[in-house]
């Protein structure tokens, strides 16, 4: 242990001794135990290398110091020899210098007395010279006067005047002074006269004014006179050139002279101190107040001229009424930049005195504002043209008000949007970029405001379209929908497109120069944060406008139809139930029409992924009845409808209806759990959404009007029949919606409450069954009419939306013990019967059947929507055979579905309504 410590400290001591010897500071006197990590490992690498390291250090140290010592010795030797040389040099220098000083002393002593004399003499000479000048002054002045060299005269006089002033108590000088004064008075007068001479130029007048100033004229009088003369001259000049043809002329005749006037004036009267090198005291020494006064006088005098100038300038750059920058850039842009640069370059005096630059900036600002707004406003005109063309085309095909040009509408929407965006970008924003200085934040701000304003204006146009245009009803309806769609589209991407272009082209300084072309902005390109609030506002505004238009349109339709419904029921006058009330056919047609119309206006929504941001998941099920979701939905609806048919007081359960308190209670309980539905509400921009909204309005009106009716049996039956029909026509839209069934149920119950005694029968008679017995084929076969003498119209391949055969009917009857079910396949597009199938899966062609069977003509058939019936006795839902068909159509193999959907159908004009055999006959009480 001890040895190891010794060993450890030994090199350290040595080291420090060495360091001491060489005069280095010993910093590591304290041993640091942490350095040695393995103290006992004597043979270890660390220990050995340590020793070697220290050894090396020592050697280096010795070598370095030895080297230094050698060189130091050399240096000292050199120094020694040099100094010896220098000493001899120095002593020689000393001698020389003392010699020089001796010499100079001698010379000085010799010249001393003479110098003073010379100085005196030269002084005397100067005085004499001056005296001579003064004595000669009158003559000189006279001479100048005769030669009309006034400025020379003034120069002389001003040189002498002080002196004369000083010595005027001496008689000799007095005489001279008097003479000079006289002459100078004449000079002054002459100058005054010269000044008022109209033919001299500006420069001269300025000089003359200066002279007068030097002659101590009253500055106020002088500046007034100066202004007066100059302005009158200016007027004259401008009169000669009252119509400048170019900006150059304008500047030349209006600004340059003005600038000169002001410049001279400034030099003469307003300058802070004498700055001129050649003229001594050329400027009137005015105090601050006087200066202010002078400035005001000047400003007042030149103000009208500046006004004129700006008026003229404005005329130059005035924009045409309808700005279009499609092809040419405006000459005004050129003018403006010329004006700007020449004004800023040449008018220092005007700038400082009359603040003309501020005026110019304001003018530019106004002009830019006009330009921006004008440009954007021109889009309104263009839009108006587009719209008018569209309206014209709408009215051209006015022969049938229920028809419209789907492609035309879609085209118009597409065209208008593209056009508008294109116009904004290529005809407004890009030209603006060309002609405005977009590096200025004010200009940018103005453009931004301009964009927002124009969006606002367009939105207002759309929103008030119904007031402005004198469209007939159906065109207006189409147009409002189209407008709504346009708004939605703009909100969707148009606004964003414009703003992102604006952001990328204007706000960020583009590295590459780009002319006229723009690239479709990347979605992920960041929009300038300052623009985002604007953009969001605009988008919101457009969404709102779109919604408003849509709602307005729907409400209008709703008001009209519900008024018709009210009229139909309030003025109803029937003695027996023959068919569904006319009004519901109308409603149905309008619904179909609306659906088709909205479909035409909002068609592409099903395959635009970006729309999902607006109406999220709903869009999926709103479109395409074939989507699986929809099919499932329909399956749900089956049960819902069936549950209603059990609850509602159907005719067959009349007996139970005698206790209307129970009915009331059930109704109320039902209502208690029903969700509150706002009748007038915002609707989705989809065919389903709008039709649903419409149906809601109509059903509520129906409910209200049945409450106002005076009910009797026939009316009640009528309402029942109507409700059956309604259920079917609304089913494709509202599906399983609870409110619809609740509402209809309420109608029935309120109708039921109002009638006294009703016996109704919904059971189908034997004859009806007889028809349905005929079975022709066991396979699922959607029959084509082979030949039919009613001259059928062939409708080829309807879109599935239009000929969706989902509504399968269930014709029931309680025959003997056995229940028979008959299924009808309906074309929901026009509710025509296409085929029937019975519970054994057999199917018949209703239409061809109708040809054979006379019983059909007896209007005896009743069709219900397809429902799966729940049998109370069994307590479970029995899937009846129609489900087979249903599922085969909706969920069956694709080729089958395809086959059914792609079938070519005959649309038949049949006198009898096959879809609903509305004859519901009372059954005799047992």
């Amino acid at each position: 242990m001890e040895t190891s410590t010794q060993r450890r400290t030994k090199p350290r001591e040595r080291n420090s001794l060495l360091k001491k010897y060489y005069g280095l500071k010993d910093t590591t006197v304290q041993p640091q135990p942490t350095v040695q990590d393995k103290p006992f490992d004597l043979d270890g690498n660390t220990f050995n290398s340590k020793i070697r390291e220290i050894d090396g250090d020592m050697k280096t140290l010795v070598y370095e110091n030895y080297n230094k010592f050698i060189s130091a010795t050399d240096t000292i030797r050199k120094m020694k020899s040099n100094v010896q040389d220098m000493e001899s040099e120095m002593s020689r220098l000393n001698e020389n210098i003392s010699g020089i000083s001796k010499q100079s002393k001698l010379i000085n002593q010799d010249l001393g007395p003479n110098r003073k004399k010379i100085q005196q003499l030269s002084n005397v000479h100067n005085s004499l010279k001056r005296l001579q000048f003064i004595f000669e002054l009158p003559n000189r002045l006279q001479h100048c006067l005769t030669k009309k060299r006034y400025s020379q005269a003034v120069k002389y006089y001003s040189k002498a005047s002080k002196l004369l002033d000083h010595y005027k108590h001496m008689a000799a000088f007095k005489g001279i002074e008097r003479d000079c004064h006289q002459i100078m008075d004449t000079v002054k007068q002459d100058i005054w006269i010269a000044m008022t001479d109209t033919n001299v130029n500006l420069q001269k007048i300025a000089e003359e004014t200066k002279l007068l100033l030097l002659l101590n004229e009253d500055p106020q009088k002088l500046w007034k006179k100066y202004i007066e003369i100059q302005i009158s001259m200016l007027n004259r000049k401008q009169r000669e050139n009252s119509n400048p043809v170019s900006v150059k002329d304008l500047i030349l005749f209006y600004i340059v002279p003005l600038e000169d006037i002001v410049k001279h004036f400034e030099n003469l009267f307003l300058a802070e101190e004498q700055v001129s090198e050649h003229d001594i005291s050329s400027v009137a020494n005015l105090n601050f107040k006087e200066k202010e006064e002078a400035r005001n006088d000047l400003l007042n005098a030149i103000h009208p001229h500046i006004e004129t100038f700006f008026k003229l300038a404005y005329e130059f750059i005035e924009l045409p009424k309808n700005i279009s920058m499609q092809d040419t850039t405006l000459p005004q842009v050129q003018y403006l930049s010329e004006l700007k640069s020449s004004l800023l370059d040449h008018t220092h005096a005007l700038k400082s005195v009359a603040k003309i630059d501020e005026r110019m900036i304001k003018l530019t600002a106004d002009w830019e504002h006009d330009l921006i707004n004008g440009l954007f406003d021109s889009s309104l005109t263009g839009l108006g043209e587009h719209v008018n063309k569209f309206i014209l085309s709408l009215q051209e095909q006015k022969d049938d008000s229920t028809e419209f040009d789907t492609d035309g509408i879609a085209g118009f929407i597409q065209d208008t949007q593209t056009w508008l965006i294109d116009y904004f970008i290529n005809s407004c924003l890009l030209p603006l970029k060309e002609c405005l200085d977009i590096t200025q934040s004010q200009t940018l701000g103005r453009i931004q405001v301009g964009i927002k304003t124009i969006w606002q204006k367009i939105a207002d146009r759309f929103e008030n379209v119904y007031q402005a245009s004198k469209l007939d009803k159906s065109s207006l309806q189409i147009f409002m929908l189209v407008g709504s769609r346009l708004c939605y589209d703009l909100a969707d991407n148009g606004v964003f497109q414009v703003y992102s272009l604006f952001s990328s082209q204007f706000c960020k300084q583009p590295s590459t120069s780009d002319h006229g072309t723009y690239h479709t902005p990347d979605l992920d390109s960041k929009i300038e944060p300052a623009l985002i609030p604007d953009m969001n506002d605009t988008i919101e505004c457009y969404l709102k406008t779109g919604q408003t238009l849509l709602n307005k349109q729907m409400m209008q339709e709703g008001y009209r139809l519900s008024s018709r419904i009210q009229e139909a029921y309030l003025f109803m006058n029937i003695t027996s139930v023959i068919q569904v009330s006319e009004i519901w056919y109308l409603v149905y047609n309008r619904l179909k029409y609306t659906e088709r119309l909205v479909e035409a206006v909002y068609p592409q929504s099903q395959n635009t992924p970006q729309r999902t941001s607006v109406d999220n998941s709903e869009s999926e099920y709103d479109y395409g009845p074939y989507s699986t979701k929809n099919v499932l939905q329909s399956t749900h609806s089956l049960t819902t409808v069936s549950s209603i048919s059990e609850v509602q007081p159907l005719p067959s359960s009349t007996r139970f209806g005698s206790n209307d308190m129970t009915l009331n209670m059930m109704n109320n309980i039902d209502k208690l759990f029903a969700e509150r539905v706002d009748i007038y509400r915002k609707v989705d921009p989809t065919p389903i959404g709008i039709c649903t909204g419409l149906i809601l309005i109509l059903l509520k009106s129906f409910l209200e009007v049945t409450r106002e009716m005076k009910m009797d049996t026939v009316y009640y039956q009528q309402i029942q029949v109507d409700i059956e029909y309604i259920k079917r026509i609304i089913w494709p839209y509202v599906g399983e919606e609870k409110w619809a069934s609740t509402m209809l149920q309420e109608v029935l119950s309120s109708a039921f409450n109002n009638k006294n005694e009703v016996v109704l029968d919904g059971i189908i008679s034997d004859e009806e069954l007889e028809i349905n017995k005929a079975v022709t084929s066991r396979e699922l076969f959607i029959p084509l009419l082979d030949s039919f003498d009613a001259n059928p119209t062939v409708v080829t391949k309807r879109g599935y939306n239009k000929a969706f055969m989902n509504a399968c009917g269930d014709t029931r009857r309680n025959d003997c013990e056995k229940k028979k079910h008959l299924l009808t396949i309906m074309d929901t597009y026009n509710l025509h019967l296409i085929g029937m199938i019975d519970e054994y899966g057999s199917e018949s062609n209703a239409l061809s059947y109708e040809k054979k069977t006379s019983t059909f003509k007896n209007e005896n058939m009743k069709v219900y929507p397809l429902i799966s019936e729940k049998r109370e006795s069994e307590g479970k839902t029995t899937q009846l055979s129609e489900t087979l068909l249903y599922s085969s159509v909706s969920t069956g193999p694709d080729n089958l579905k395809q086959y059914v959907m792609n079938q070519t159908y005959f649309e038949l004009t049949i006198k009898i309504d096959l879809s609903i055999k509305a004859r519901v006959r009372p059954v005799e009480e047992p």
Binding site: M555, Y559, S563, N668, L672, D678, R707
Partner: protein, 361 residues
């Protein structure tokens, strides 16, 4: 605001409700049912201290479509069924048996409805009838006005071309009617149209009321779920569009408070009753502070809550069916009743803090 409301259920469905105008001591309302049978008139007396309703029932032979009480004699009332009849109700002393049905004495049978002094106004789908009451047993129709000329001729109009409602001008012999999209006034001396505004609403107008405190001011409510207040001298634009989106279906009834005319009630088939503040077009707007203190309820604990402003004060949603009628109590400024189709009568009060605001306490 449930704590301010009392609910009473009639036994049948009902559409009509009327305040007993001559009863200024107690809040009394008449309600008539439209049931299949056993229709009755309910006289509902409201006790605002313990918030209870005392009903008295009177048999009525048919559905009652409208009802009105005589402004001078509380025992006289008109009902509109087919035809309209003036009834005298018997004085009922003992109220303990409230389920007992009383019978009314039939006085006069008229074709239609409406009372002022001894004159009766009645309307049907397109005519106004002014009749006067002789003795108290017969009535004579002195004036018939056909109002159908104010309706649009467009068969496809968004409105029902029928006379919907009418109200007396309390300031002169004039009747204000609504129907179709039109608001019209009729001078009852000459039988001439005194003003007319077509397309006052986007759809049928069903409700109208006259501001008794401010001549020429009329409120209308329509199928477009909007309520407008008009100055009949300047009919170009309504002077106020009352709170645009407070209803979502037809407005069936509007009622100005006869004392505090900044309070406007509306009821709608969206099952809601709304209480609006329309102070900017009320008499209070130039009275600055209303001096009426009808209730004597100048409570010390009322804090000044600032000047009242236009807007929806309160929505009463105790109904579950269309609310067809709403009426202020003639006895208490702050009490009103509403009736819905389900036969539910709700008697409610203006919220206390609003009351204090109006009274300026």
């Amino acid at each position: 605001m449930t704590e301010n409301s009392t609910v009473f259920g009639l036994r049948h469905q009902a559409r009509c409700l009327a305040p007993v105008t001559s009863s200024t001591e107690k809040s009394q309302f008449l309600a008539g049912t439209v049931g299949v049978k056993d229709n009755a008139i309910y006289l509902l007396e409201y006790d605002d201290e313990d918030m209870t309703i005392m009903p008295t029932m009177y048999n009525h032979p048919e559905e009652i479509w409208d009802i009105v009480s005589c402004p001078t004699d509380e025992n006289l009332l008109f009902t509109s069924h087919s035809p309209a009849t003036l009834w005298r109700k018997p004085a009922v002393e003992a109220r303990e048996d409230s389920n007992q049905h009383h019978d009314l004495t039939r006085l006069v049978t008229l074709e239609n409805e409406g009372i002022k002094n001894k004159q009766i106004i009645s309307i049907d789908s397109n005519k106004i009838y002014l009749s006067s009451l002789n003795d108290s047993s017969s009535a004579q129709t002195s004036l018939t006005i056909d109002v159908s000329c104010t309706f649009t001729t467009n068969a496809d109009s968004p409105s029902l071309r029928q006379l919907q409602n009418a109200v007396w001008n309390p300031h002169k012999l004039e009747l204000v009617t609504v129907g179709d999209c039109s608001l019209s006034g009729w001078d009852l001396r000459s039988g001439k149209n005194s003003f007319n505004r077509s397309e006052a609403h986007k759809s049928t107008i069903r409700a109208v009321d006259y501001n008794t405190n401010k001549p020429y001011h009329v409120a209308t409510g329509g199928d477009d779920a909007k309520v407008h207040i008009w100055d009949v001298r300047q009919l170009k634009e309504p002077i106020l569009n009352v709170n645009d989106n407070s209803h979502s279906h037809w407005i069936w009834s509007v009622a100005f408070n006869s004392l505090q005319d900044q309070l406007l009630l509306t009821s709608s088939s969206d099952t809601l009753v709304n209480l609006h503040n329309v102070v900017s077009v009320s008499a209070a707007s130039y009275l600055d502070s209303s001096s009426e203190d009808e209730d004597g309820q100048s409570d010390e604990y009322g804090r000044s809550t600032g000047k009242p402003t236009d807007g929806l004060i309160c929505t009463y949603d105790q109904h579950e069916d269309s609310v067809y009628k709403v009426a202020w109590s003639p006895a208490d400024t702050w009490t009103f009743a509403s009736i819905s189709y389900a036969g539910r009568v709700v008697i409610s009060q203006v919220p206390t803090n609003e009351k204090f605001k109006i009274l300026g306490v």
